[in-house]
Amino acid sequence: MKTIKRHGASIALLLPSIVVLAIFVYGFIGVNLSISLTDEQGLNAESNFVGLDNYFALLDDPRFHIDVWNTLVFSVAFIFCSLFLGLGLAILIDQKIRAEGFFRSIYLLPMAVSFIVTGVVWRWLMNPAEGSRMSGLNLLFDTLGLDFLINQWHLTPTWGMLGIALPAIWQMSGYTMALFLAGLRSIPEEVKEAARTDGASEFVIYLRIILPMIRPVALSAIVILGHISLKVFDLIIAIAGKQLSLDVPAIYMWQTTFDAYNFARGATLATYILVSVAIFVIPYLIVTSRKERA
């Protein structure tokens, strides 16, 4: 196609998308940044430049401290469990089992529903009521004699986000499994055969050969899960509404902007979210694009 010099037509065809995305992605990120440097409140036009004041103010804000802690607890639990459950399930599915398609489809099913539906259902499963009002998973544990598992779920002090992580793991570990399974299936059978001929046990084959080969998949999975966990929002809203103990930056941003009309603080929170995601995603993008070029 190099012979064709008529670049004009192709640029013209692309132009609407380029213009729209230039405005709605890059332009808006810029506008958001500039709002975060002012004291803009609500819809009245009066606003002054205040530099990085909003950024420093949030660092001293007790609510933001709760947000950071909650995001940290959620991210670590969610990423760690989804990753290991996903990998375990993928290895399990890959053992030439019967009805593989059935197990795989059920494990992956939660991906088809929204975080809102997941939240609406799990808020009933994780009902923390005690005594005669006990229900949900606590009631199931009680009936099965597994009393030691009965807990306060997302209403547990300090560690409540672990209760939010559970439905998130339920929803995303099947997806993580699919990622790993695609990775496992791309390893040629000869590699395993060769190792078996050399007398290596299956365990050693996985540990020494297969796991190192699917390390890139694990990296993508961590980035994808991290991306989700840093902006977790609708799942918490559906499970618990807006509670201070389960607050995260995305909820704070939403409330302060659209309920309290504190646009400047909302924009600052949005920038913090953007930066935290960028820390995750940009190194990954650089690594993958370098690999593609190599």
Binding site: I11, A112, V281
Partner: protein, 284 residues
């Protein structure tokens, strides 16, 4: 996890143990994934006189669709809104993504790779980072509150992933096909329409399914951009969740109704669903 991996073919009894362990684990996780679905279905089918949190794990004594009738009364209009939103948005986003992908794979120009990367960046951003200017802009366009504004927003933010899916698909289409059309005197758009569009059906299925699912399940854009009469089903369902007025059996029936379209897509078009998911794993 280690025991079932240390299998050596010649020892049969050990193999039996390993297999038993494997299937036990598979069934255990089956229960983990199915328990919430069991609760939802069982609860949504219980007659109203069996509404009790204490018996939530019991099977219903009979099947009663009263909850579904009530849930439909609450959510019917918003399910209609969701369809009215999702169908045009998914089709438009896929069509534009297809044109972009076509240009970026077959009509490359100096700088087109850079433009592709810049377009792609749009799918990695957390939408909070553009939310405030977005709401202001949608207001200024006079589209705030209704579904057309939400369609516009979903089409725009769907462009990066759609462009990616179609570009990757067209990379596997041989250049000779297009050169032949050009020799016949077709221009860039006519070539697209006559040659490329007809062979794009698989990519369109993947793209439209992806957009359908992610727009149907979206909450953030819907909750900040629409007013009550235009709410899609995610917002309407969240609004009755945990409410004391709407009984929880009805909420469960509502959860089923709200997820039925995407679950049906998953069941019948699972292969394409997965393909889109693996391609678009970083959206939003």
């Amino acid at each position: 996890m280690t025991t079932q991996l240390t299998r050596r073919p010649p020892i049969q009894p050990k193999r039996m143990v390993v297999k038993t362990l494997q299937y036990s684990l598979l069934v255990f996780f089956l229960a983990f994934f199915l328990i919430p679905i069991y609760v939802v279905l069982v609860t949504s089918l219980k007659p109203l006189d069996q509404v009790s949190l204490q018996t939530m794990w019991d099977l219903p004594t009979g099947i009663d669709i009263a909850n579904y009738v009530l849930a439909w009364e609450k959510l019917g209009p918003s399910i209609g809104n969701s369809f009215y939103l999702v169908i045009p948005a998914a089709l438009l986003a896929a069509l534009l993504g297809s044109l972009n992908g076509y240009v970026l794979s077959k009509w490359k120009f100096p700088g087109s790779e850079l433009i592709f990367t810049l377009i792609l960046f749009g799918m990695f951003i957390p939408y909070q980072a553009i939310l405030i200017p977005l709401v202001q802009t949608v207001r200024e366009l006079g589209l705030y509150g209704g579904i057309p504004g939400l369609i516009l927003v979903h089409v725009i933010y769907g462009l990066p992933i759609m462009t990616l899916i179609f570009r990757n698909y067209y990379l596997s289409v041989p250049d000779e096909l297009i050169e032949a059309a050009l020799v016949d005197g077709s221009g860039i758009f006519k070539t697209y329409w006559l040659i490329i569009f007809p062979i794009s059906i698989p990519a369109f299925i993947v793209g439209i399914i992806w957009e359908f699912t992610s727009i149907w399940n979206d909450f953030l854009f819907a909750v900040v951009l629409t007013s009550a009469d235009a709410w899609p089903v995610t917002v309407a369902l969240n609004n009755i969740a945990g409410s004391q007025i709407v009984q929880w059996n009805v909420q469960m029936a509502g959860a089923v109704l709200a997820s039925l379209p995407t679950i049906l897509v998953y069941i019948f078009l699972g292969k394409y669903f997965l393909r889109g998911m693996l391609a678009g794993s970083l959206k939003g």
